[in-house]
Symmetry: C2
Subunit: 309 residues, 2 copies
């Protein structure tokens, strides 16, 4: 089986080496060294060049390096009859949960606030509620969102979940759809976005959303930059409607040098590192999924191309 690695922004050779080591029967090639286009049966992709995937007449499956497939499906020339497999790596969920808890607790314990006071050498105590007195709202209850929500619950937070279609997660009060959004937002003091990016969720974090949250709330966005209407977020931060934001993802990445987020006193920027796919664990999952499929089993973690996740 010929597997083509198309990851121009990543280290394609490290993926090739990992795949080869795990399954020496695989003929692994790294784009743009494709060989004959009709050889390619499977592609492993991240930020592939637009239209490229339409060039392989015998392509039977596409694997995404990342959990989010909006970039892959954003290609209008994506061959929509070819099954697309997203990355479901428990290690990805573990590191995402660690990052979400770090961001939530940093705000909960006022570490951002005290870092500001420190610049002026000001010693001023602020009384904080315990986690039981703080409501965290998690948008998106897939593999990553559900896990983060449960870990926050274990720490004592009052956690609520929202998803586009209703989901039941043990131990969690859940809300769904447009109808449930207002009630969800009304109590949410720390909002964590872990939604997939789809036409329905694009721009969902806008002025209307922020206005429905309690004044002084905090936003943690670890999903996609396009979930946020950036101008609306800056306005909400400037007015004090939001007390702060932890942003790991942006409309344009790397975040351009002149962007207002860089020097905004209420924004913490991390460079899309909340959760990084690890070659070591992820390559095993890809190779094992391929192996079962070649033996006649079903492909696991296939995306609903229409729905977008």
């Amino acid at each position: 089986m010929v597997l083509l690695v198309i990851t121009p922004t990543e280290n394609g050779a490290s993926w090739r080496d990992a795949f080869r080591k795990l399954d020496p029967t695989l003929d692994v090639r790294v784009w743009p060294d494709t060989g004959a286009l009709e050889d390619i049966e499977v592609a492993f992709v991240w930020r592939h060049p637009e239209g490229d995937l339409a060039r392989y007449p015998n392509l039977r499956a596409v694997f995404s390096l990342g959990a989010g497939v909006d970039g892959t499906l954003g290609d209008p020339l994506y061959p929509r009859q070819v099954p697309l497999v997203r990355m479901v790596d428990p290690d990805l969920a573990v590191s995402m949960t660690e990052f979400v808890i770090a961001a939530v607790l940093r705000h909960h314990c006022d570490l951002d606030h005290y870092a500001h006071l420190q610049r002026e050498a000001r010693w001023e105590k602020r009384v904080r509620p315990s986690a039981a007195g703080r409501v965290v709202g998690v948008m998106g209850l897939g593999a990553l969102g559900a896990r983060a929500a449960l870990a926050l619950t274990a720490l004592g937070f009052e956690v609520r979940g929202w998803s586009r279609t209703i989901r039941t997660v043990a131990g969690l009060e859940t809300f769904a759809g447009e109808a449930g959004l207002s009630a969800f937002l009304a109590a949410t003091q720390i909002l964590v976005c872990l939604l997939p990016l789809t036409p329905e969720t694009r721009g969902i974090l806008d002025a209307q959303t922020f206005a429905q949250m309690p004044r002084g709330s905090h936003l943690v966005n670890v999903a996609r930059g396009a979930h946020v209407v950036e101008g609306d977020l800056i306005a909400a931060l400037d007015s004090g409607q939001l007390a702060g934001a932890t942003l790991d993802v942006f409309d344009v990445e790397p975040l351009p040098a002149g962007h207002a987020f860089w020097h905004h006193p209420r924004v913490l920027i991390t460079p899309h590192v909340a959760s990084l796919t690890s070659v070591a664990t992820a390559a095993i999952l890809v190779v094992e999924n391929l192996r079962q499929w070649r033996a006649g089993g079903a492909l696991l973690n296939v995306v609903d191309v229409q729905r977008g996740y």
Copy 2:
């Protein structure tokens, strides 16, 4: 029974009101309005004036507002035959655990590092291990330390504990005494200090201790400022032996305006807020302990005055 509140740096009236409301039979007075000195049977203290406690001939018990009693026992005129009760409030352990996890995860997820990059608008990813690949060492395995250690274990960290005398905590590798300190420090990448302050632990966080930790480690001190030799800490940060420190407590509080910590780029300062005793929950514990004692029971949480905790 006459209870005297001696808390010059705190709001004594709020404690008086809480005690009165919980037990109207208590005659609660707020220092310096003591009335006749021989009336006073119980004192509730925090940062009492040196020598003051020796003035009450009928004093039968002293309750500390805080979990640490080093300040109270630091008074050379403390009447050492009078039992001293420290604050053991589950709420105190809950908020301390939240703060410790916030500080550990802030470092683990490089949030301090990224905040520095942000000032220069630099977008640079740093690969981090998962929590399972990071060793957190907790010094002090009392009510606060044991709870924090277990919560860190639940998040996936490899946690080790150290105490002066050996303690067994389920699920934790523990070390003890001078003999166990080197082995404990050798693997510790994030050191959390939750020790009581005693003659044996004063200055325990010194150049020798820092030198035994892996280069690039992080310190979280939420115990007492005097555990740290401040000059040694600054030297370890400047040399890069320590990558950072989260400091909630200091030799002199409030931290003086000109202190080197205020503007050190590798130090986060919080103003002794890791865990604040709450009047609402703590007053209940004091009154209940008094009630059982007056009914002939034993006082709970009495400190070993010789040992100092």
